[in-house]
């Protein structure tokens, strides 16, 4: 890897030792890092830097200690609050976040989490990877690193290097890689337990009573094996006089239904089991006036 002739930063223009110029030993090369300061400040007495002592010396301009990195004050907030804030910030990724928390109710390896996130985002375009989600959720206190037995890393002793003897001399040999598992924390479990999409849907219906017919129409159209494409839903909904003022489009309703877990995106829109139940509750107040094919 460290082959001198491969990937070296310096290209040797001369290879022959006879051609080397050894003027570096000449005193002309003496480099004085404080020369500039001395010229500018004139009368100031320059301290003799003396021989190298190996002890770190203060930076010339100094750097106040109070500029050292500070802990994020956010970490002082309760986990439940941080989790809620994360869900608010990543509103569009709420489904994936909830999916991860459910998946990690039992310890799962990072590789397993990668697979689950891949599955959850199969039909999405997202810049977030499993590692990104894990980091965000860990910062929010929603998941923790544990070992295969579910013991938190913070409670398990740090691995230390082994000492091996080679030709009479002792060496440190790094321990094997750690297998990390993720586990949903209690505050995140509590949040999952409180997750009540049906109540959210009912509240939505109360708030958007005038649009109930639109919601029902979408759920009905997507309630089939092949689902409904976005253009099909647009055609079914966007013409409705209800949506003229204020002007609203299908995407507004699909997003709200998705947040209530009544609708799911799988490359096409599909009504979920929850959506089907809620649809039954809504009764036959609305019928699809225009078939998808029509």
């Amino acid at each position: 890897m460290f082959d001198a002739n491969e990937g070296g930063l310096l290209a040797m223009a001369k290879e022959s030792t006879e051609e080397f110029d050894f003027e570096i030993a000449d005193q002309e090369w003496q480099y004085d890092p404080l020369a500039d300061a001395e010229d500018q400040e004139g009368s100031e007495q320059e301290e003799d830097p003396g021989d190298f002592t190996g002890k770190p010396i203060e930076s010339l301009a100094g750097r106040p200690e109070d500029q050292t990195l500070k802990k994020d004050a956010k970490l002082e907030e309760p986990a439940s609050q941080r989790i809620e804030e994360l869900f608010e910030k990543l509103n569009a990724r709420r489904r994936v976040l909830s999916g991860i928390l459910r998946f990690l109710e039992a310890p799962k390896s990072a590789a397993e989490l990668n697979g689950e996130v891949e599955r959850l985002q199969k039909h999405d375009f997202s810049v977030y990877t499993a590692a990104n989600y894990a980091e965000l959720l860990e910062e929010a206190g929603a998941i923790i690193k544990v070992d295969e037995n579910g013991t938190p890393f913070a409670d398990s002793p740090e691995q230390v290097p082994d000492i091996v003897t080679v030709d009479g001399a002792d060496f440190l040999k790094p321990a094997p890689w750690r297998e990390v598992y993720w586990l949903t924390t209690e505050p995140a479990r509590a949040r999952l337990a409180q997750n009540d999409p049906e109540t959210r849907f009912r509240k939505l219906m109360e708030r958007d009573a005038q649009y109930k017919t639109i919601y029902v129409r979408i759920l009905q159209a997507a309630d089939c094996q092949e689902g409904a494409t976005t253009p099909q839903l647009n055609e079914l909904v966007d013409w409705d006089p209800l949506l003229k003022s204020p002007r609203l489009y299908t995407a507004h309703f699909t997003e709200l239904l998705e947040r209530c877990e009544a609708l799911r995106w799988e490359g096409v829109w599909k009504t979920t089991d929850i959506g089907r139940t809620l649809l039954a509750e809504c009764g036959d107040e609305e019928t699809v006036e225009q078939g998808i094919e029509g």
Binding site: M1, F2, A4, G8, L9, L10, A11, M12, A13, K14, T17, F20, D21, F22, E23, I24, A25, W29, Y31, P33, L34, A35, D36, A37, P49, F52, G54, K55, P56, I57, E58, S59, L60, A61, R63, T68, L69, A110, A111, A131, A134, E135, E158, Q159, V160, P161, I163, V164, V166, A169, D170, F171, L172, K173, P174, A175, W177, R178, E179, V180
Partner: protein
């Protein structure tokens, strides 16, 4: 008499070979340090580091501390270690760009110019030195020539040249190369690197880069002292 001369020649050759081996070891260490400062650790390097053995007692406290910190970090690797290290590299050496004190900027000019600016006198100095040894920076190098990775790489080149000179029986050439190394260490690396590593210890949040700071300090100090010893014997 002829036998005695042959014996002396053999002893000299043996000493030169021993010294050449030492130069090779130093070249490897400079190469490793240079690589660690050059850019983020990649997967291949991380695995290579994990497979390495680190001496426990080198005789220098900082080197031992550095190796212990690095080996301890490597003993707790997991799937996201590469990301952790990349983040720590950016935090430690690139900073947030708010001011000249936001990171351990790995340039000599920053630590030797009053306003902590890049491309100052130190860069001109080292560039002239590289050129006096017939060396130019690589085509793909877009940073200042006083970046620590380049200065360490320069030391590696000088170590390798010294090794070749010793094996070729060019004692005078080897001696001049050792003098050049000592002067470069004295005038440049050991002048400013301890300031940078002090900052690195403040900013680094992984043991890898904290250990690198200790290792660099200790290695440069012991290497400089060793060269002083060798050259004082030669001069005597």
């Amino acid at each position: 008499m002829v036998d005695q001369m042959k014996a002396v020649d053999t002893a000299d050759q043996s000493a030169d070979e021993e010294l050449a081996c030492l130069m090779d070891q130093r070249a490897n260490t400079y190469m490793l340090l240079s690589r660690l400062y050059l850019k983020e650790i990649d997967d291949a390097l991380l695995h290579e580091l994990h497979d390495m053995l680190f001496p426990t007692s080198t005789g220098d406290g900082d080197v031992d501390e550095g190796y212990l910190l690095i080996a301890t970090y490597l003993s707790n690797l997991w799937t996201e270690s590469l990301t952790e290290l990349a983040v720590d590299y950016a935090r430690s050496f690139l900073g947030n760009g708010v001011d000249a004190f936001a990171a351990a900027y790995p340039y000599e000019s920053v630590y030797t110019s009053e306003k902590r600016l890049l491309m100052q006198d130190a860069r001109d100095e080292v560039l002239a030195i590289y050129r006096s040894f017939g060396i130019e920076k690589g085509q793909d190098w877009g940073e200042g020539e006083d970046h620590i990775a380049l200065e360490l790489e320069f030391m590696r080149v000088l170590c390798e040249r010294a090794s070749k000179a010793l094996r070729a029986g060019e004692s005078d050439g080897a001696l001049r190369l050792l003098l050049a190394q000592r002067n470069f260490l004295h005038d440049h690396l050991v002048t400013w690197v301890p300031m940078m590593t002090a900052d690195l210890r403040r900013f680094a949040q992984t043991r890898m880069y904290e250990g690198l700071a200790y290792l660099t300090d200790g290695f440069l100090r012991t290497d400089y002292a060793m060269l002083q010893d060798i050259l004082s014997e030669e001069e005597a």
